[in-house]
């Protein structure tokens, strides 16, 4: 039996004005378990708290009911008071007789009556309270960053600079991501490589960072602070530790006609290749599907010319296991396929290209060495049409496009148009737009400059059809402002294709039990207040995997994610919330209902041995809650058909006791 003390606060006249506090204290005295009851002007003051501590000692109290303001206000205060008095902090319940009683009711008898009932409910609950201790778990002081684009690079650098080891897993042979493919960046027009490649070098040289390039995450187990991750290092048939990146093998390889992914397939690369000059790690990789040595056992030229002896045709995929305290997802984006938008003739003409392809065409390291030349005949285009929102903002074409705005296209199109007019003033540039969306620092000014200073023609309307005919692309479009249809014979058409999350994101989300939206973007723990955390504890989000983002936004989110990771890794131990679910194994029937509703993946099933009454043993499948992962929502408790699952601090019998007390 509990020995409960009731402490009724006046809160000056805030409570005492409409509640007869003495009557409340008196009425609660006769409740079961109550051995002491009193009132005081300001229970939260030092004197009030001292009064509580003294009362606990004098009366050997085991539980406290404080009739005062909202628990959202002073629950923590009174829990500390209880701890000072030598009680478990969770033996305290608050009856909210201010916000939910004295402040909303005007008449003293009514307020008093309700305060008594609220007090009774709290007493009924405390009678069933049990001491709770938050669980503790150790923290592995190492972070994993999945994805080596600008988001992953920035997050890794920030975490590593704080002194924690970081591993980057990148599926491509080099880090750098999409930003490495870009030419200039809006709105300042600094060159992407000039600002990115130094960061890539920093990553390579940072003693706290390891890069697993040409690798994937194969398995994730564990929970916040204690993730066990298996990384698959794909065979690249080149020993990374020996390769010097000299490129002799690349020059000698006879299989030269493979589409170069880095240049969006607009030129070719050999079967053994280094994606680009500033690649990190600068190590060659053999494309197993293109190499005749690997396919037929004939050739071996690269091995012969390699002075470092780095070529290894027998290399196998390698699996590495490592422990991490935190995981950052930075899997980024891709442009969507233009296959289903052939009214724009992307499949019919080489001169209809996506904006990312245009980036490569204007990049000094690209297939045309930075000269703007048509892919079909290498001629300089004199009339260029840009089409915005291709595949973005599509409602009824789920299999074709995306319902959301891709966010970055308005700005990069303005950049492309402006740069084209700047470099080639003899080129006529027309941009078709639905809306020009430029909410960002110096963004609208940038767009207006493209129009006013560089003479880019912006037409409010949409291209309806593109017909390649001979050397030209016949563009048919609407001009809504002038209410006319336009016909332009263009030399080059650039499509601002929608962007989508990388395909690797969904299987990864499943491994991490991190939630995603219908578009496969990762969901944040709270859209406003926890934008870089996944609802799954210990998993953080960086960059476009969470939603379309430009570079400045990505970098700031990457930094934010890093600071969250640092905050976690700084701790030696994680203190959990003790109000979490727990399963009564004797009642659990192993049905998995709780596992399915848990938003955090905190529940797993174990095969456990039980002693039966007849002294035999039996193996049964029972639910097990991971205390470090459970957030205490209670969804499982209701899903459980056998009543085995309960929530500490808000147990079934406690809530029922409150209901009973109120309904008495």
């Amino acid at each position: 039996m509990q020995r409960i003390g009731v402490f009724v606060c006046w809160c000056g006249s805030n409570i005492a004005g409409t509640v007869d506090v003495k009557a409340v204290a008196e009425a609660l005295k006769s409740e079961p378990g109550v051995v002491y009851s009193t009132d005081y002007q300001y229970m939260c003051s030092q004197a009030g708290q001292d009064l509580i501590v003294q009362a606990v000692k004098d009366n050997n109290l085991t539980g406290l009911v404080i009739c005062s303001c909202s628990p959202r206000m002073h629950e923590a205060t009174f829990r500390k008071t209880a701890a000072t008095a030598g009680l478990n902090p969770y033996m305290v319940e608050i009856a909210n007789i201010r916000e939910q009683c004295s402040w909303v009711h005007k008449e003293m008898p009514i307020g008093t009556e309700k305060a008594i009932i609220l007090g009774k409910a709290a007493v009924a609950k405390v009678n069933l309270n049990t001491p709770l201790t938050p669980g503790e778990s150790p923290v592995t002081k190492r972070a994993l960053v999945i994805g080596g684009g600008i988001a992953g690079i920035q997050t890794a650098l920030d975490i590593a600079d704080a002194g924690f080891p970081v591993d980057i897993v990148e599926t491509k042979p080099t880090i750098g991501g999409k930003m490495a493919q870009l030419d200039k960046t809006f709105p300042t027009l600094d060159c992407a490589a000039c600002i990115l490649t130094p960061k890539m070098v920093d990553v390579a040289q940072h003693e706290k960072i390891r890069i697993f390039s040409y690798s994937e995450v194969a398995e994730v187990k564990g929970f916040v602070g204690n993730f066990d991750v298996t990384i698959k290092k794909k065979a690249r048939f080149v020993d990374e530790t020996k390769c010097t990146g000299c490129g002799d093998c690349v020059d000698k390889c006879p299989m030269k006609k493979n589409p170069n992914e880095f240049n969006m397939g607009m030129d070719n690369r050999p079967a053994i290749y280094i994606p680009f000059a500033q690649a990190v790690p600068k190590v060659a990789t053999i494309d197993a599907g293109a190499c005749t040595m690997l396919k037929k056992g004939k050739c071996g030229l690269c091995s012969k010319v390699c002075g470092a002896g780095a070529i290894d045709y027998t290399q196998k995929d390698e699996f590495i296991s490592e422990k991490y305290g935190a995981i950052v997802v930075a899997t980024g984006f891709n442009v969507i396929s233009m296959d289903k938008f052939d009214e724009y003739a992307y499949n019919q003409s080489k001169d209809v290209i996506t904006s990312l392809e245009f980036e490569r065409l204007t990049n000094a390291a690209g297939p045309t060495a930075g000269k703007l030349l048509r892919p079909s005949d290498g001629k300089h285009p004199h009339k260029i049409v840009f089409v915005q929102c291709v595949g973005s903002r599509c409602e009824n074409c789920a299999e074709k496009g995306k319902e959301y705005c891709s966010k970055i296209c308005c700005m990069y199109t303005a950049k492309h148009a402006m740069l084209t007019r700047d470099k080639y003033p003899d080129t006529d540039v027309t941009v078709f737009y639905i809306d020009v969306r430029t909410p960002g620092k110096n963004f609208d000014e940038f767009y207006r400059r493209a129009v006013e200073e560089f003479g880019v023609k912006y037409v409010k309307g949409m291209v309806g059809k593109i017909v390649p005919e001979g050397e030209v692309l016949k563009v048919q479009a609407s001009d809504l402002i002038n209410n006319k249809q336009m016909h332009i014979d263009a030399d080059l058409v650039v499509l601002a294709a929608a962007i989508e999350p990388d395909k690797s994101a969904r299987p990864l989300a499943t491994m991490l039990t991190a939630s995603m939206d219908t578009n496969d973007f990762f969901t944040e723990a709270h859209p406003k207040l926890r934008p870089v955390e996944s609802p799954t504890a210990g998993v953080f989000l960086s960059g476009a995997c969470q939603g379309p983002k430009d570079i400045p936004e990505t970098v700031s989110q990457a930094g934010a994610a890093a600071s969250k990771v640092i905050g976690l890794l700084c701790k030696d131990k994680l203190l959990g919330n003790p109000c979490i679910a727990g399963s009564n194994e004797l009642m659990c029937n192993g049905c998995s209902s709780c596992e399915r509703v848990c938003p955090y993946g905190a529940i797993t099933y174990l095969d456990k041995e039980f002693r039966m009454p007849d002294r035999t043993t039996k193996i049964r499948r029972v639910a097990s809650v991971n205390p470090a992962v459970c957030q205490g929502c209670g969804a499982c408790t209701v899903a459980c058909p056998s009543g085995a699952m309960d929530l500490r601090g808000f147990a079934n019998d406690q809530i029922m006791a409150e209901v009973d007390a109120i309904c008495k």
Partner: protein, 263 residues
Amino acid sequence: MKMSYFPGCTLKNKAKDLDEYARKSAEVLGITLEEIENWQCCGGVFTTSKDEIATKLSSVRALMDAKSKEQPLVSVCSACHNVIKQTNHAMRNDSEFADKVNRYMSENEPYNGETEVLHYLEMLRDKVGFDSLKEKVVNPLKGKKIGAYYGCLLLRPNSVMAMDDPENPTIMEELIKAIGATPVVYGMRNECCGGYVSVESPELAKKKSDAVVANAKAQGADMIITACPLCRYNLIKNGADIPVVYFTELLAQALGVKEAENE
């Protein structure tokens, strides 16, 4: 294999060739086309309006007939195919419409879009297969550069027709390859020829037809094939200076049933 067949008005009059070659070629490929008895004109265009019932009944009758024989319903003319497929789709998916139609028809068993509606081209691709068609070709049309003209009725609306990619179709190109010729892909192949508006404003129809032919020629076609009598009429009437023929004619030629006819 037997299939129900809806020839349509034009195939019985101005486009007899389209009909005849279609049947003969199908025979060679092992499919007998059984003409629906007492079929009525499809109406030429499908009225999208939700409150039109009567204009869709002839299609429903043909569909019910095919259902009773448990056969797919094949048509060659793009217009007939479009009307029948859209009607069937409405019978399957628009319960209010289907209910009204079924009450009107007052047959023992209501019709709810059970029949499989196939265009002749779909029959070739999905029931015969272009590979086996290729094996039956006795007279490959080598060296011919052919532009397939789809027009609008064959492909749109794609949510209903679901025959091919509406913006980048390949079915006729595959046929052209199967009969030994070279397909020419050109952008205007799925744009309108001017259709029925040629009675309302012949100048508009001429502009549209000219653009189609010009584009096909510019991309290297020396011949255009089509499945639609109206497309063919508009292109020819507006002065196409390359041959515009029904696809079945070339098919019959390749399969050797047209020559036999001539000899």
